[in-house]
Amino acid sequence: MKGMVFTQLIEMADTMLGPDQVEAIIAKADLPSGGAYTAVGNYPHSEAVTLVGAFSEASGVPVPALLEGFGEHMLRFFHSNYPAFFSTCPDAFTFLESVETYVHVEVKKLYPDAELPRFSTYRMGPGRLRFDYYSSRHLENLAAGLIKGTLKLYNEYAVVTHDSIEGEHGPCVRFLIDKTTSSIQPSA
């Protein structure tokens, strides 16, 4: 898993729990890497699972909610660090569609060994997008956070529902994103 996920997870935890507690958690977790993460490195997925579990326990925030919050945090991080990916997309649906076809392509150019989830999108109508998430890591809550973060970034409203199904390329989590005109907050 890309080191950037770990560095951002710790940064979010610092804000949630404070650096003292985060450092104590890392020390206690006894991670193979020792927690010395760099954004450009690669680290075992298991370390992320350990850290998320530990942060959830310490904060009292259930793992799914914590992952969703992390998804929104990651989206804000991407937007401030890689604005070029967003500048060509006029709305949330366009950006979500471009993640697989453009963002992941560019990431692969820089990091050919990066293991990325697979997204498949389909416009079901002018205000409805189908967004399928394929990954053996089952981080669908993180994906939901990314979707919601995107909607917030573009100041758009939508109802987001998801379901585990057998998709075109195997088992996946299918998100249905229905735009609304009112400010009904997106719900999982």
Binding site: P19, D20, A24, I26, G34, G35, A36, A39, V40, G41
Partner: protein, 451 residues
């Protein structure tokens, strides 16, 4: 520098975080170093690839250049072969045509006259075939040049009438010349090539039409002030016409070769293709409208600017040719005895006194010691060729400038004319030598030299 909100207050935890951050930095530096090395190697690979590609491009370019040179050499060799063969074929043809023309005057028996006419027309066809192939080869190899000069457009049309009138009448066809031009109109263009196209089109029309008529029309085209004059030429017939498939094949070279022998009408099958290429090279477009059973119309338009006439240097026209001259003292030099004999006979019958030689050197010596009005020189002779002989004759004090010099050659190249004029010839006759042309040329050259 770690931001304040990410700094633990506990010194032990702070030390841990700093240690973690330091190790992360070292790890990122290692990764960066590895990535840099990877980039460097990739760059080296790219540079090598680039060098290899450049080498391959150079190699391929060289191969192409060699292939091009080979092709150019092969093409030049082919052209040379064509020119040589043409010369070789024309030389004996000259003998046949000339001898037949002379023999015809001595014959009275109708059967003999028919036979001698067959000889003449067969030789003419053979000559036309050689010319067709040679012309086409010259066009395809891009060596065909146009030589624009002032000429009288109505006489070109009239000549077509004279040429095909008899054969049309013999078939019961009407040959109509519709020339909507003044009686005399000097324009600038390559008269030889225009005539070639018209002769081909009218000749074909007469050949393929069984009943009805063939019409050659020339019309000036409307133009704005300042624009050069343009003329539309059309040749219409009431012949069998062509279906769409035949029309598509018409301007394809060698299309006659694949046809059913029963459908062939003689000729090289290159005539129309040559016409189409010539018209295109002259800036026009040869177009065909045809309907089976109705007939065909070939049309093209050419820009032929009007000639400016300055002083007495007007273009030669039929009127400017002096009257017949005879009793001239003429010297001939040609290394081929048949040619000498034919020309000798032609000139003698015109009433001239002829001294024939088989070498250029002898002709020069003759001119140096004895009086002469005209010298006919074959261009290709061993030891002293026609060009050299002309130069030497022109250099003879007092005499050289007064003598008329006429080149005669089996070369088909039009470029030869310029080369002849450059060394001092007054005219250049291409074999086979025709009595009428010889007469006309002698009159013109003699008039020029005796002024």
């Amino acid at each position: 520098m770690i931001p304040q909100e990410h700094t633990p207050a506990d010194p032990v935890l702070l030390a841990r975080r700093l240690d973690r951050e330091r190790r992360a930095r070292l790890e990122s530096e290692r990764l960066l170093e590895a990535k840099s090395r990877e980039l460097h190697l990739a760059n080296q690979d790219l540079a090598q690839l680039n060098t290899r590609l450049e080498a391959r491009v150079a190699e391929r370019t060289h191969e192409l250049e060699v292939a091009r040179q080979d092709a150019v050499k092969a093409s030049a060799a082919k052209s040379e072969f064509f020119a040589h063969m043409s010369h070789e074929i024309r030389t004996p043809l000259n003998g046949v045509i000339g001898a037949a023309a002379l023999l015809r005057n001595d014959l009275t028996h109708p059967q003999h006259l028919t036979l001698i006419d067959t000889v003449t027309s067969s030789a003419d066809i053979l000559l036309a075939l050689v010319n067709d192939v040679l012309d086409f080869e010259r066009i395809e190899s891009g060596r065909l040049e146009f030589f624009p000069a002032p000429f009288d457009l109505p006489s070109v049309i009239a000549r077509c009438g004279e040429l095909f009138g008899p054969s049309a009448r013999a078939k019961g066809l009407e040959l109509v010349l519709s020339c909507r031009l003044p009686d005399s109109l000097l324009v600038v263009g390559d008269t030889l090539r225009l005539q070639q196209v018209l002769v081909n089109l009218v000749g074909n029309a007469v050949k393929f039409t069984r009943t009805g008529k063939v019409t050659l029309t020339v019309e000036p085209q409307p133009r704005n002030p300042g624009e050069s004059s343009r003329y539309q030429f059309s040749v219409a017939d009431t012949g069998p016409g062509l279906d769409v498939e035949q029309q598509a094949r018409l301007f394809q070279p060698y299309s006659q070769a694949g046809r059913n022998p029963a459908d062939r009408k003689g000729g090289s099958g290159l005539g129309l293709v040559t016409c189409e290429r010539l018209v295109t090279l002259a800036g026009g477009k040869l177009e065909l409208q045809s309907r089976p059973g109705i007939g065909s119309v070939f049309t093209f338009t050419l820009t032929l600017p009007e000639a400016l006439i300055v002083g007495h240097h007007a273009a030669p026209s039929a009127l400017s040719i002096p009257k017949d001259v005879n009793s001239l003292r003429i010297v001939i030099a040609d290394d081929v005895k048949t040619n000498v004999d034919v020309l000798n006979l032609i000139l003698c019958r015109m009433g001239h006194t002829v001294t024939p030689y088989l070498s250029g050197l002898e002709a020069i010596e003759h001119v140096q010691t004895k009086p002469a009005d005209l010298v006919f020189l074959d261009l290709h002779m061993p030891t002293v060729d026609g060009f050299e002989a002309a130069r030497r004759i022109r250099a003879i004090p007092n005499v050289g400038a007064r003598i008329g010099l006429i080149a005669f050659t089996a070369d088909a190249q039009v470029e030869t004319n310029d080369a002849c004029l450059a060394v001092g010839f007054d005219a250049c006759l291409h074999k086979p030598i025709r009595p009428t042309l010889v007469k006309e040329t002698i009159a013109r050259v003699y008039a020029k030299r005796s002024v």
